[in-house]
């Protein structure tokens, strides 16, 4: 069966195997864990640790981050250097749409990107029905991120060699209602494994790691 959408010639194809069936097969519920924060705040590290922890429990997850997107789908998006805000929005949109597909497939999709603007993150949240969007905020101080400077980007930004670098001369808008906020404990960063445990506990409590 198919139905016409508005005035276009594009139809909606339905299939007997849907999200519910796939979730039953995987014994988990598809969702998006969206990890946001400054460069160097530990997003990728947490994503890896989380993925490993889920895998050890027999749960299927997949990480979407700059590494597997930048040279792939985001390669030729026609970025105009002068339109940074728009470029960021488009990256957020693309990642959000892909994450939505992965969640529909039944996977726990871990998106890890700075995503500095509240509006763009909220737009991704709105794409996902049924509260399947879990925003994880890596709330690490700029000084800490800068001292790590894992990719040498802060140094370049301070030297004026990169313009519009988040945290230096472009804002990071903190989430107002994230599901999980990660912070230091008395100035010490919790270990990735511990943080992964925190996220897994949340997923467990909310029923994502099983199907009734």
């Amino acid at each position: 069966m198919s139905t016409i959408s508005n005035s276009t010639n594009i139809f909606w194809q339905e299939c007997p195997v849907g999200k519910a069936e796939r979730q039953k097969l995987l014994n988990q519920k598809g969702c998006v864990v969206w990890i946001t924060g400054l460069s160097g705040s530990g997003k990728s590290t947490l994503a890896c640790s989380l993925s490993r922890e889920l895998h050890s429990r027999g749960k299927l997850s997949y990480i979407l981050d700059g590494d597997n997107l930048r040279h792939g789908i985001n390669k030729d998006l026609g970025f105009k250097p002068e339109d940074r805000t728009e470029n960021i929005r488009r990256v957020g949109f693309i990642v959000g749409e892909i994450a939505k597909l992965f969640a529909d497939a039944g996977l726990i999709c871990i998106a890890s990107l700075i995503s500095p603007y509240r509006k763009d993150r909220d737009a991704c949240r709105a794409m996902l029905p049924d509260a399947n969007f879990i925003e994880v905020f890596m709330n690490m101080p700029l000084e800490l991120c800068e001292s790590r400077d894992a990719k040498g980007l802060y140094k370049l930004a301070r030297a004026g060699k990169i313009r519009g670098f988040t945290g230096i001369d472009d804002p990071y808008e903190q989430p107002l209602n994230c599901e999980i906020e990660i912070q230091q404990n008395n100035g010490v960063c919790p270990l990735p494994a511990a943080l992964a445990g925190q996220v897994v506990t949340y997923l467990e409590e909310k029923g994502f790691l099983q199907v009734e």
């Binding site: 010639n9 909606w12 195997v17 497939a105 996977l107 008395n186 919790p190 270990l191 445990g197």
Partner: protein
């Protein structure tokens, strides 16, 4: 070999560590750990001063894998290394690989790219295929050209460059799904050879399985499931594949599903042909 890695901070007044168990190991040794109380994890919490943890050295790197709990003693009882207060142990990234996911799912990720004229039966075969795979306990996902145009590709139209971009994005997404271990079934007209070949090039050899719905135009037009051929013939749609836009048949597809004589095989029969191919090539096991 999939050894999990442990990351820990250098010992300090607030020594904390997390323990991960490893699925496999090559060597066993000991790490002499100087720590203070007040740290987080598990059985280390109660230990102060020197204590011993069973450790595994991986590839002679600076990463040390830990397995088990503090206080376990190894048969050897030998010390691997001594870590003092000022030691800085590197954080190491670890990730679950495609192979790990495939082992867990008991299948191999790939892209089944179903191409053909409108009305040739692509979506129908895609659905039938996903049904058979599901009943066999395999995880598949259908990326239908029409459905993706409602979401990810909703900013694209039907002119040549938009079609190319539509296909490119779907190819990239399908690649991600295959990497995730999913059997990704892409179902879209994808009329130009160059665009399909570009998607093929994204994937490792053998993981892009092109399925050509080799159904003659007159059969597709007679079906006209969406009434589009009628609109195209009336000039109400321009650049419609098969009518006033070309369809370039694959030259080297893995599977061609044909219309033989006056009869068409059922979607299930066609899907079974694809299943046989997947089976033969080992995609339906880890």
């Amino acid at each position: 070999m999939n050894a999990s890695r442990l990351q820990w901070a250098s010992s300090s007044p607030a020594l904390s560590t997390g323990l991960e168990t490893s699925s496999s190991c090559s060597k066993l040794g000991f790490v002499n750990f100087r720590g203070g109380g007040g740290g987080c994890g598990d059985s280390l919490k109660t230990k102060k001063g020197l204590f011993v943890i069973k450790a595994m050295d991986v590839e002679g790197s600076r990463t040390v894998n830990l397995n088990g709990h503090a206080g376990d003693s190894d048969k050897n009882g030998s010390l691997l290394s001594s870590i003092g207060n000022s030691t800085n142990i590197q954080w190491h990234q670890c990730s679950v690989k495609k192979e790990d996911r495939e082992n867990m799912l008991k299948q191999k990720g790939c892209v089944i790219w179903i191409t053909g004229l409108s009305g040739s039966g692509k979506s129908t075969v895609a659905c039938a295929l996903s049904g058979i795979l599901y009943r066999r306990g395999k995880l598949a996902y259908v990326l239908d050209g029409d459905n993706v145009r409602h979401g990810l590709n909703r900013d694209l139209g039907f002119k040549a460059e938009d079609r190319a971009e539509n296909i490119r994005r779907i190819g990239e997404v399908a690649k991600l799904f295959a990497d995730a271990g999913v059997i990704c079934i892409a179902s879209l007209i994808s009329p130009y050879r160059r665009d399909r070949d570009a998607c093929r090039a994204l994937l490792p050899a053998g993981e892009f399985i092109e399925v050509f719905m080799d159904i003659p135009l007159h059969v597709c037009e007679a079906r006209d499931p969406k009434g589009l051929y009628k609109l195209a013939r009336a000039g109400k749609i321009k650049g419609f594949t098969g009518i006033d836009d070309p369809y370039e048949s694959p030259l080297n597809c893995e599977i061609a599903l044909r219309h033989t004589g006056g009869e068409c095989a059922s979607p299930c029969e066609m899907a079974e042909e694809v299943i046989s191919y997947l089976e033969e090539k080992g995609f339906l096991q880890a």
